[in-house]
């Protein structure tokens, strides 16, 4: 049995791993490694007596003999190894110990997003492209426009075909072969968001009714998977669509063929700016924002909220897991609304910079 003792807010981490071999023989081999760093300063470790008395009620052992002093070292490497070992052995306890102090293993608050970077027009052969990084999660979106006949049930509209690809490159959990369930449900989710948020007027994509229209193939590929895929995909898609430029296309009346004028290009008109925020629920009670891949795998439920700039909800996607009450949901929605403003500013800034550069 392993018990974690997490100590202090500014001081980091004391991992106490207690192994109880049998309750008859309450022999506790306490290995304490502590490394307390506060902004580069090193403080002296508290006295071992203090540790013992602090430990005893926690562990409930009758005599916990602390034989740790010889293990106690102030090496920089040792706590790292111990931390990694504990993390592998008991990942849930590891994360719980941080959550109790209202923070997470990577140092973020519970309601904090990882730094988000956006870059556009990186793929010159695509009509529009965007690269988004949320922490380590990297997603790139490329848009290609092609000419085709409109579908028979909507002859005056073009269409958008999103496709999310999770290649084996981004994480070892994805195998090569046909798209797995996660990629397919992400593609369906993106398609639903495009439709629900009325992102683009599909009538604009139609060139001539029942004869010719644009179809936009949006290929979203994940290059590095560290959790929170859906948010990154939505931002990438939004930025790529704003960045996309379509050439003018007309139908030659005599030959009945399409003619494309590459010189004249126009941007797409984006009606709404949906932005997603993902949350993970731990132990039915703690909600954290922007989960990493480990946090996602340990969580008991995942939730994604997509809002647009008018504070209307475009999607509330909770594909199962443990239940969530109405109030908790409301907290998440409020956080999502704030995030929307943040990301809108980011996207606007990026596009402004492109314009001023020209």
């Amino acid at each position: 049995m392993g018990v974690v003792l997490n100590y202090g807010i500014n001081s980091y981490i004391s991992i106490v791993v207690l192994y109880f071999q049998s309750h008859r023989n309450t022999y506790a081999d306490v290995v304490i490694t502590k490394h307390i760093i506060t902004a580069g300063k090193e403080q002296a470790a508290p006295q071992s007596a203090g540790w013992e008395t602090a430990l005893a009620p926690l562990t409930g052992a009758e005599d916990a003999r602390v034989t740790s002093l010889r293990h106690c070292s102030l090496h920089a490497a040792l706590p790292n190894i111990m931390a990694a070992g504990f993390k592998t052995a008991e990942p849930l306890e590891y994360h719980r110990s941080f959550l109790k102090e209202n923070c997470r293993p990577d140092g973020r608050e519970l309601g904090e997003f990882r730094p988000t970077t956006l870059n556009i027009s990186s793929i010159s052969t695509a009509d529009g492209s965007a690269l988004v990084k949320i922490g380590n999660t990297t997603v790139i979106c490329g848009i290609k426009a092609e000419l085709t006949m409109p579908p028979s049930d909507a002859p005056n509209k073009g269409y958008i075909v999103p496709n999310v690809d999770l290649p084996p490159l981004c994480s070892s959990r994805f195998r090569p072969g046909p798209p797995g369930e996660q990629a397919q449900s992400a593609s369906q989710f993106i398609a639903d968001v495009i439709e629900s948020s009325d992102l683009i007027n599909l009538e604009e994509l139609c060139i001539e009714k029942s004869k010719l229209c644009w179809v936009l193939y949006c290929d979203i590929m994940c290059l590095d998977y560290d959790g929170n895929l859906l948010d990154a995909c939505i931002i990438a898609l939004l930025a790529a669509l704003r960045n996309a430029q379509l050439p003018e296309a007309t139908i030659n009346k005599e030959t009945d063929l399409a003619e494309v004028d590459i010189q004249k290009k126009r941007h797409l008109k984006i009606n709404r700016h949906p932005v997603g925020s993902s949350f993970a629920v731990f132990d039915d009670s703690i909600i954290i924002v922007d989960p990493t891949a480990e946090e996602e795998s340990l969580s008991t439920a995942l939730l994604t909220v997509v809002t647009d700039e008018e504070d209307r909800l475009c999607a509330v996607h909770k594909p199962g897991g443990t239940s969530l009450s109405g109030e908790k949901l409301q907290h998440c929605i409020n956080r999502a609304i704030t995030r929307n403003k943040e990301i809108s500013k980011l996207v606007d800034k990026v596009f402004e910079s492109m314009k001023t550069a020209k």
Binding site: Q184, S187, Q188, S196, L313, V316, P319, S325
Partner: protein, 233 residues
């Protein structure tokens, strides 16, 4: 086209009834243990939407898919026409995660629980009907669960009216469609799957309405199980 029938006081909805029927659950029915091969089976009928569910489990699992401390849940949704596509995958993910949360999977490590859902007729509220059919089939199979779940679909019409359990026509004309799965223990939201845009107030209202509607469905579960086992001493 609308037809009125006086048989036994059941009537199909007409366009005029829409105002009263917006807060009405369509008539629903279910039959359990109708297939001989699966361990548990049920059909769930909501209005004209009808889903047949079959459950196999706990059964043998492929080594590549086995989990060392719990059972593996697989869900397959077969549409009536054509091959299953991306839309079915998204629904399968919803149903599978709900089942994983409800079943006590740690009681059957290294085994598999397979839920197969066949769409017999789709007249709106498909995902919630799938969830209800899956829950009844799991009950019929006798798999241990920590709580029951049910699905409720709400549609928000263009005028802002909230309609529960919409038909296919109402779904096409609505502005937003929200499906929730509610659990029986605390009446909280297990799944939320939405299309269309709506405001925060509308979301909370729909959740509250779904919680109220779920009470009726859970009562229906209890009644059908009571009836089923009434002959056993």
């Amino acid at each position: 086209m609308t037809r009125m029938s006086a048989t036994r006081g059941l009537c199909m909805r007409t366009m005029m009834e829409l105002d009263q029927s917006c807060s009405v659950l369509r008539e629903y029915g279910s039959e359990q243990s109708l297939l001989s091969k699966p361990d548990g089976s049920s059909t769930f009928v909501q209005g004209d939407t009808s889903i047949l569910a079959g459950v196999y489990g706990p059964a043998e699992v492929k080594v590549s898919k086995e989990i060392y401390d719990r059972a593996t849940v697989e869900v397959l949704i077969q549409p009536k026409m054509g091959l299953p596509g991306v839309r079915e995958r998204a629904r399968e993910q919803c149903v599978r995660e709900t089942c994983e949360a409800a079943l006590l999977l740690t009681l059957h490590p290294r085994s598999s629980v397979t839920v197969v859902l066949q769409v017999i007729h789709d007249d709106g509220s498909l995902l919630s009907c799938c969830l209800n059919a899956a829950c009844m089939a799991l009950m019929d199979a006798g798999l241990p669960m920590s709580h029951l779940f049910c699905g409720v679909t709400c549609a928000i019409s263009k005028e802002g009216q909230i309609i529960i359990d919409p038909t296919a026509r109402q779904e096409k004309e609505c502005r937003a469609l929200l499906t929730f799965a509610i659990d029986s223990a605390e009446c909280n939201v297990l799944i939320s799957s939405t299309t269309g845009s709506f405001s925060v107030q509308e979301l909370q209202q729909c959740i509250a309405i779904s919680q109220k509607a779920s009470e009726q469905i859970f009562q229906f579960y209890r009644d059908s199980v009571k009836r089923r086992y009434s002959k056993i001493q």
